[in-house]
Symmetry: D2
Subunit: 396 residues, 4 copies
């Protein structure tokens, strides 16, 4: 469904102003926009996009549009910012979907996008690519980008590795792991904790479950802010790295007396189990920084609780049979997104510029591409890294 | 005006839950409450309180009440949380005022409190003490506490040093300077910046104007988070300390090309002047962490701007005659309060426990007290420091 | 030449005591020693070792000997600690060479070792392996370990990839890169700078040339100590990482006015060239943390200097034609070794335990090995990481 | 005894070169030297100096001499660097004493200095002032400076507060506490530990006994290097500060299982007692950063040890009755001096410039001075702080 009719002029202005602020802090996309405007690399091409609709991704869509593309966009259920969508509509970008959509409407939106016969896909979780392969005969498709590793894996499984076009997987770029995982997530999880709890960081005793790039970022920022941080990590090499970075490394079962806060960030399910909750101190705070809320067994927590109370919009209190109270932040959803504004503009600028530059690469190299999932080309990584470094630097 | 009639049951519950969460993280007040409940040091005494009415101060009022006090409370115009006030009313604390009050109603509330003939005052800006001295004959007054240095100075000036009762000034306690200024303000200004801007901290170029305890806290936290920090400080000894702490120290007029963000925290007016704005880079962000918004000449900024636009609820954009855009956060009001939740619960626990313990001291030592403003007694500082240290510590 | 005759009993005692102190801080080798003593994995086997003869490697030799090995050892020219060699001799380890040896005697020592027909080699720079391949017919050789990447490359080039036995290359182990490069080198370069100069670190302006694991360690430690650090890095991805870690990243040619100290750590020749010296400030200090002294063009520096003076044992002053004086530390040799005691005992414990465990792996898997250079097996890395982590940890 | 006859020309050259390197890193004294050379404030005046004779203090003596002073100098027993003394002699400064002197010769040297009828004293431990008051009638004395607080206290006690001239006490200057105590001592204790032990800092478990300015410096530097640091502090306010700075704060008796290293820095005797030693872990390292070696009860340790062994020049091993071995660094003397080169040149530049500027103040204000010990004048502190800040700064 098209948005045009159910948005007011007021919210369009609001959407424009939030895009304006964001665009000022996305220098790489701005630069690409100037370049694209001159070179028109996407002239005559339709790009089908599935991505959260909010100011940062709006800047990306306008960048592609400046390069001559006909951009057709849909968001994800529940995250579409209608004012932003309206602002984009006004500028000639086709947007399907609105905040109130559910799964059913989302599938409809996916089809709506694909009916435009896109030459390029910018996908998230393989929603576009999977539907296209199953339902459409699209001879004009050059290829696409896929934000998530999960999406790439889904595609491989479903097609038996027979994906009929190239897919550049953005998430595994080393650049993204450094800037978005370690620093973007590291910083914003700290913000989310402060914002939702209003508690002091120095002296507070955190247990960070998982020392991948995200976990390392969170742990380092907390230590630098004066917190007492213990790291749980099952891989001995990552564990040794954590110890040398100044952290105490322990087994989860030895941390219950110590911990005031648990933050899970393993990327896998079941890091904290049913039997762990009753061993925690009264008042222990539980938060998650991983993509899914499955890292703690929240279903058991809810079932076993004698009493549940929503203390604030972001804090739910579970009273256990032993009388102890556990405090769950933002329903166990990613603390930086659910309890804050998500990754900083500049880290999104990096990831979305990798998207835009990868689409450009697909167009320029279309004669020489192999099919299937593939990493961001080294030349793209290098160029984007160099440009970001230039923007973050200052003469000495 | 009494609140009882114009609050709903729903908001009382909401008030209670927010007090509950906060009380869990104010261990010193909780301990004092147990002690007071046993010893009843305030039995038969009325305490007149003027303080922002919100969950943290609600915990203090309940602590005093547990000690036998008849607590009579009023807030400040514009900051009263009505749900919290309602919850306190239900527990038998008399509360005057509501969020919508203006200056006139506030003065009325002050008189309402004083008509209860309080034996003790807990004052903020000397509103209670000044009105009492001018308008009341109160023979039963033992003494009071005063939160601010400003309030104490006002009293001294108006009375010619003839204040007819003892006033313990809380703000100058070394404890408070360490925990509330350096760490509480340090942490929450960072949070306020992240929350209002959603920008990355590492690589960002900050200029911190003022290296007192608050400035040091902000500067250190930012450096530890990877920011590039330059300090402006006119006192050479504090400046040398900043340099050795790892900061570049400079004159304001040399920072315009460097700065992406200015944060003022000098405690004095006019740190940034009319003539400075036009020399700043396009996009420079301006924020204040000092008590008043007078540290930048905002009046001139507003007058000289060609165009003003509210980009988000917390960001105002001023377009200067030279075309450059400056971004003012939270109207120049304290960034941690106006753009966040203010100081963390534990730092407030310290300050409010100093209040409660000082009131106890006034009662216990009433025969031996000198009149006029005086610092928190060393024994009180030491006791509170020791208790806070115990609560923040964990066996090694 | 055998040492036994030209050492006194006194120096043997001295050697033993220094080994004793060191062994106390090499818990992994100590544990391997107990295990080896029980299991005798090297019974009947001769191990030919070429390694610097000093207390830490002495602990390794004693570990292998405890496992039943006949250990035959030679050092490198100029680094043999005679007291340590004497102490090892007394315990039945055959040691060839002494401190005063030159290149000629070293080659002789290599042959002396190989004449024992070793079953295993522990090599450094491929001295043993190359000589063996060229001059000996050794059917009993099982394989060897090689400390350096350079040694492995030399072997590959000389043999056209036809190396007739397995060689496990220790240096590339991720473990070693974390613990020895980032932390061991990071810490000891700082020590070497302090020891040789007696200058203050906070406020001092360093330029770190190269942001590999060693450079990152040095840069991070210096920043944490309050220094002002600029990083030079030609790879944009590593450069971006440096910027986000809080460093200013620049081109070498922009750093001359800023720099008080240069530390090269690129692993490659010619990071600082002839034409750079005359642009540096008067008093600039030059140091090297890379393996070879080739990272600065010292030959040109010496030729172009008008005047050269040895200010202290570790500081050489070059007066240039423009009158400026540059200060070279420890002749441009690795600052932590030449100006200190080299890597800390625990980091050597890791690297040498990787050696010992790799030798064990070669013996246990001798039927299943492929020939040529190969990385440390994942199982060995994991086991050693887990043991080190255990030793560095403390109950929380 | 005069040095001239028993030094060789070679050692004079060595002395000059070490003074040259040091002078390059003492910019404030160099600047004062230029100023003094022009203004000749000490023309016709004799300055009697008692100070360690080494390169940094040599720079000070040359500075005073440049101002017209006749400098007469003696050192302390055991610390005189003869080559430096010889170099000063050659430049016309009278030096009494040599490295091999004992207490007796030192007293003789003090008298030798006083026989020159100095107009100004630069004293250390009140050796000159006490002897002068007892034995000399010196009408021409203007006043003096005293390095230590201890010296000032001694004078007060002996004279019953009747000190017949002004004495400016350098040690209490806030400047010195920041730069020399926190940063100078902080940095060099870390260096001394690394140099004497060659052990890794990250993961190492330190207990810092005392959180004054020196203790804070040591603790902060260690934490920043990745060590695990526990602080012992009896004052609750300083203890709270330590906790908020990120340290675990504990009682000494709870640290024995945790500690790998103790560093005492309380400034008082008997921080670690006889009964504590046997509770420590095998291998625990003991070091002292306080002025005297009395902070641990070393006499008891020596008496109770079953066996004592000097492992290296700086490490003494005590085997207790329970079989555990304790390792004492540098005989319990200040670890940075006894195991290193003492405070960095720049921190000494600050302290010695305070000395020189205070002497100048005495001369300029001689008509207006009160008698007895007094702090460094605020104007002197401010001027020196400003100059040091300028030298440590770099344009941004």
């Amino acid at each position: 469904m098209n948005l045009k009719n159910n948005t007011t002029h007021g919210s369009i202005e609001e959407g424009k102003r939030s895009i304006h602020w964001t665009e000022m802090h996305m220098p790489l996309l701005s630069e690409l926009k100037s370049q694209f405007a001159k070179e028109q690399p996407f002239a005559g091409l339709t790009i089908g996009v599935c991505i959260h609709v909010e100011p940062k991704t709006a800047v990306l869509c306008r960048t592609l549009q400046a390069g001559g593309a006909n951009v057709v966009l849909t968001g994800s259920p529940g995250t579409t910012k209608d004012a932003v969508a309206a602002a984009l509509q006004e500028e000639g970008i086709t947007v399907y979907g609105q905040r109130s959509d559910r799964r059913n409407e989302h599938l409809q939106n996916i089809h709506n996008v694909l009916r435009h016969h896109p030459h390029l896909l910018m996908d998230n979780g393989a929603d576009l690519a999977r539907t296209l392969i199953q339902h459409y005969d699209n001879n004009s498709l050059i290829g696409g980008t896929e934000e998530t590793t999960t999406g790439a894996n889904l595609l491989r499984e479903e097609t038996g590795e027979n994906i009929p076009f190239p897919i550049i997987v953005i998430n595994d770029s080393p650049l993204k792991r450094i800037m978005e995982n370690e620093h973007g997530v590291g910083q914003t999880i700290i913000e989310g904790f402060m914002r939702t709890t209003n508690l002091i960081l120095p002296t507070r005793r955190f247990v960070i479950v998982g020392y991948g790039t995200c976990g390392r970022g969170i742990a380092r920022y907390l230590r630098n802010l004066g917190s007492q941080v213990v790291v749980i990590e099952t891989d001995p090499i990552a564990g040794l790295e954590a110890a040398l970075d100044g952290f105490r490394v322990a087994r989860l079962e030895d941390t219950f007396a110590f911990a005031q806060v648990y933050i899970t960030v393993t990327g896998r399910p079941n890091a904290i189990l049913k039997e762990h909750f009753s061993q925690m101190n009264d008042g222990t705070i539980l938060a998650n920084a991983g993509h899914f809320s499955w890292e703690m067994d929240l279903e058991s927590l809810r079932q076993d609780a004698q009493h549940t109370e929503q203390l604030t919009a972001d804090i739910e209190q579970f009273t256990l049979a032993n009388g102890r109270r556990l405090m769950l932040l933002t329903q166990g959803e990613m603390l930086n997104l659910a309890g804050g504004s998500g990754n900083p503009a500049e880290t999104m600028d990096l990831g979305l510029s990798l998207q835009a530059a990868s689409l450009l690469y697909l167009v320029q190299q279309r004669q020489h591409l192999i099919f299937g999932p593939q990493p961001v080309p080294h030349s793209v990584n290098n160029t984007i890294a160099g440009q970001m470094l230039k923007h973050l630097s200052y003469k000495i």
